[in-house]
């Protein structure tokens, strides 16, 4: 089998082997290397490019049977014009939870190229793809990337370690690390070369993970595989973390800084318990997320075979059961993708974000926002409508972060984002104060001048980034 893998990844962060030793890996950071005439690595352009130009350099006997495209929300690797006579698999990497239009980009790309299967790192984003009618959508945290094996340290030299970036995309990390420092809790680590990071974990009793935006990231596996007790920020059930790891059993989760500090103190006083949990976490990671486990699951899913765990098939994700059956429905789904991207960016930057939904806003939005774990969403609707129409749907979709207020409260309550409709604004508009940082009009029509004027008069300015999104004028 000739497997071609197109990737946006930097070589040091990629696995030595994605799937098979005979594969050809192509990327903009890769050099050209041929073994006996067959490309082992190929340098290919970044971003969008015509892959036929790549295959023009390849010997006929090396043409691909299977193509994997590894990309993410930045679409830094988006080969187009993929050949039709081979299996095409899309691996969507972890960076769909921040940045500019990450999900919209991915959806547009999937529409353009006819993939036979889509594997997503971020489980909680999968439902948009299933809803839009793409088939064979699977979850694979970490995709096919296993954590490199390093020699395990026999001695624990440190208590708490943290490794990873602390840049502009990680405000929560900075906040939590500073808070721990103020409590005189010593943390070793920082932004280290990968091998050093893994060795540090192996030498540490505890490893701290702070997700960028509520996602199950590689740190979960890097920490547990190397024997440290993982302290992970609480993720929503839609992340999939709880399908494998449970708090107090194989990892420790914390809701906020105070909870983290208390739990660090607790396990500091109960080292045997800490060791027991760390060992169980390690065993789970080795069982389910080793290279061979991932590869076997990957092949099984492609061939519709048995996997060692059902979680990858997303059958338990209630939102994945929704299908947009008409073009209008699909347009509505895409509108919800746009709104979700605004909401997830708010969630990334705020510790306790609040989003309000006006009564006419589709409850599907609330189901979308359910996976933003620290988000409080509030729907302003009368109790009867809530009990008969909204709540049953929320229960079915396992939404736990939604509450209700009376409609009048929309004008006085504050939020980071108000999602409303043209109809709601007809009554709300004149009463709208400056209590909502942003307003997004679900069914916005730029030709509807009165609505636009109402919002402008209320002190909002239109955002170019998304039609129907208005933000409070800071001046």
């Amino acid at each position: 089998m000739n497997i071609f893998i197109f990737t946006h990844g930097l070589p040091p962060l990629l696995p030595r082997v994605f799937i098979d030793n005979t594969e050809t890996v192509c990327g903009s950071f890769h050099s050209n290397l041929r073994n006996n005439g067959k490309y082992k690595y190929m340098n290919t352009p970044g971003g969008t490019f015509d892959c036929q130009q790549v295959f023009a350099k390849v010997r006929p006997q090396d043409y691909p049977d299977t193509i994997l495209v590894h990309t993410d929300g930045g679409a830094q690797c988006a080969p187009i014009n993929l050949p039709i006579n081979c299996v095409k698999v899309l691996l969507i990497g972890g960076a769909t939870h921040f940045g500019e239009k990450p999900l919209q980009r991915m959806v547009e790309y999937v529409y353009a190229e006819n993939f036979d299967a889509i594997f997503l790192w971020n489980r909680h984003n999968a439902h948009f793809f299933t809803e839009l009618g793409f088939s064979n959508v699977y979850w694979m945290p970490g995709l096919t990337f296993a954590v490199p094996t390093i020699a395990q340290s026999k001695v624990k030299l440190h208590d708490l370690c943290f490794f990873g970036q602390l840049g502009k995309y990680h405000p929560r990390r900075l906040h939590i690390i500073k808070a721990l420092a103020e409590e005189n809790i010593k943390i070793v680590g920082g932004k280290l070369p990968r091998r050093d990071s893994l060795e540090l974990v192996s030498q540490s009793r505890y490893s701290l993970n702070i997700s960028l935006n509520g996602e199950l990231n590689m740190r979960v596996f890097e920490s547990t595989q190397n024997g440290a007790l993982l302290f992970n920020d609480e993720l929503s059930e839609f992340s999939g973390l709880q399908l494998f790891y449970q708090n107090g059993d194989s990892i420790v989760t914390y809701a906020n800084v105070k909870d983290l500090i208390e739990k660090l103190a607790f396990y500091g006083k109960h080292p045997e318990e800490a060791v027991r949990i760390a060992e169980k976490g390690q065993s789970i990671t080795n069982r389910h997320f080793s290279f061979s486990a991932r590869r076997d699951a990957f092949y099984a899913l492609l061939n519709d075979g048995e996997t060692h765990h059902d979680a990858f098939r997303l059958k338990d994700e209630p939102r994945c059961k929704i299908q947009a059956s008409t073009p209008q429905n699909k347009n509505a789904t895409m509108r919800r993708v746009q709104i979700y991207e605004v909401a997830q960016e708010i969630h990334r930057t705020k510790e306790t974000p609040r989003i309000m939904l006006a009564g006419e806003a589709t409850p599907f939005i609330a189901a979308d926002l359910a996976d933003l774990v620290r988000l409080k969403q509030i729907i302003a609707v009368d109790p009867k409508t809530y009990d008969t129409k909204v709540r049953p749907f929320m229960d079915k979709m396992q939404v736990k972060n939604l509450s209700r207020v009376d409609e009048e409260r929309l004008a006085t309550e504050s939020s980071d984002l108000l999602i409303t409709t043209t109809k709601d604004l007809e009554t709300l508009g004149p009463k709208l104060g400056k209590t909502h940082v942003r307003v997004c009009v679900w069914d916005y029509n730029p030709d509807n001048k009165p609505i636009t004027e109402t919002l402008l008069a209320a002190g909002y300015q239109e955002k170019e980034s998304l039609q129907g999104l208005f933000e409070l004028n800071k001046s």
Partner: protein, 235 residues
């Protein structure tokens, strides 16, 4: 001395004396094991009154068929298989010294090349070089004068003079490895690709480790360190 047939295949030796180098020796051993956990190593401690000139005994002291000798102030930063292969092919693989002019030693003239003996891959094929090195190590005048901060200082002896002369005397042709295999960061600030051995008491900076993680992979595009003005090693 073990007969060649009794020796283990590949291995690493450290030859040292005194107690002050234990810390850097441990550092080197740890770095070796990081990349070559499969390689045996021997720490060979000489009498306390030994000097650099006693390093010439390394072939005699080695229990391995193919040996890598490392100075105690080195750190292994990548796989070293190629060095062993070249030693097996040619008998001796080493780097040219940061100052390549052996004429800095009193008894050596002309354009003769000085090799750095801190990282030496060798086999029995190079026996003649090591034998000659041992013969002349204590008799060759290896004193040298040099500048430091505009002052002239003298180093009374240095094993590298004898080694350089031994290569010439025996007519042996060593395989020369690039400076990446024995980087002397005080004097060698720019390079292409990965560093194999860091030869300095200071710690390699974190950005060099990250550089190596990338450049050590055959699929990575090779880079020139001088193109990165923020690289700490340049400062």
């Amino acid at each position: 001395m073990k007969q060649p047939s009794q020796k283990k295949a590949r291995g690493v030796i450290y030859v040292y004396w005194g107690d002050t180098v234990e810390g850097e020796l441990d550092r080197s051993v740890n770095s070796l094991q990081r990349f070559h956990s499969e390689l045996p190593f021997e720490k060979i401690k000489l009498e306390n009154n030994s000097t650099l000139l006693n390093k010439a005994r390394m072939l005699e002291l080695s229990p391995f068929k193919t040996t890598l000798f490392l100075d105690t102030d080195t750190m292994v930063m990548d796989r070293l298989d190629f060095g062993f292969e070249k030693a097996e092919q040619h008998g001796l693989a080493c780097c040219i010294n940061e100052c390549p002019w052996a004429r800095r030693y009193t008894d050596i003239a002309g354009d003769q090349i000085e090799y750095n003996t801190g990282v030496l891959f060798f086999t029995q094929k190079a026996e003649a070089v090591f034998k000659r090195w041992e013969e002349i190590a204590h008799s060759i005048n290896s004193a040298m004068v040099f500048f430091r901060n505009e002052r002239i200082l003298e180093m009374p002896n240095n094993d590298q003079a004898g080694f350089s002369q031994a290569v010439v005397d025996t007519g042996f042709n060593p395989f020369v490895l690039p400076l990446n295999w024995n980087l002397r960061p005080q004097w060698q600030r720019t390079f292409f690709g990965p560093i194999k051995v860091w030869h300095d008491r200071s710690e390699p900076p974190l950005d060099l480790k990250s550089w190596n993680e990338d450049q050590g992979l055959e699929q990575s595009i090779l880079k020139y360190s001088g193109d990165h003005p923020d690289f700490s090693i340049l400062k």
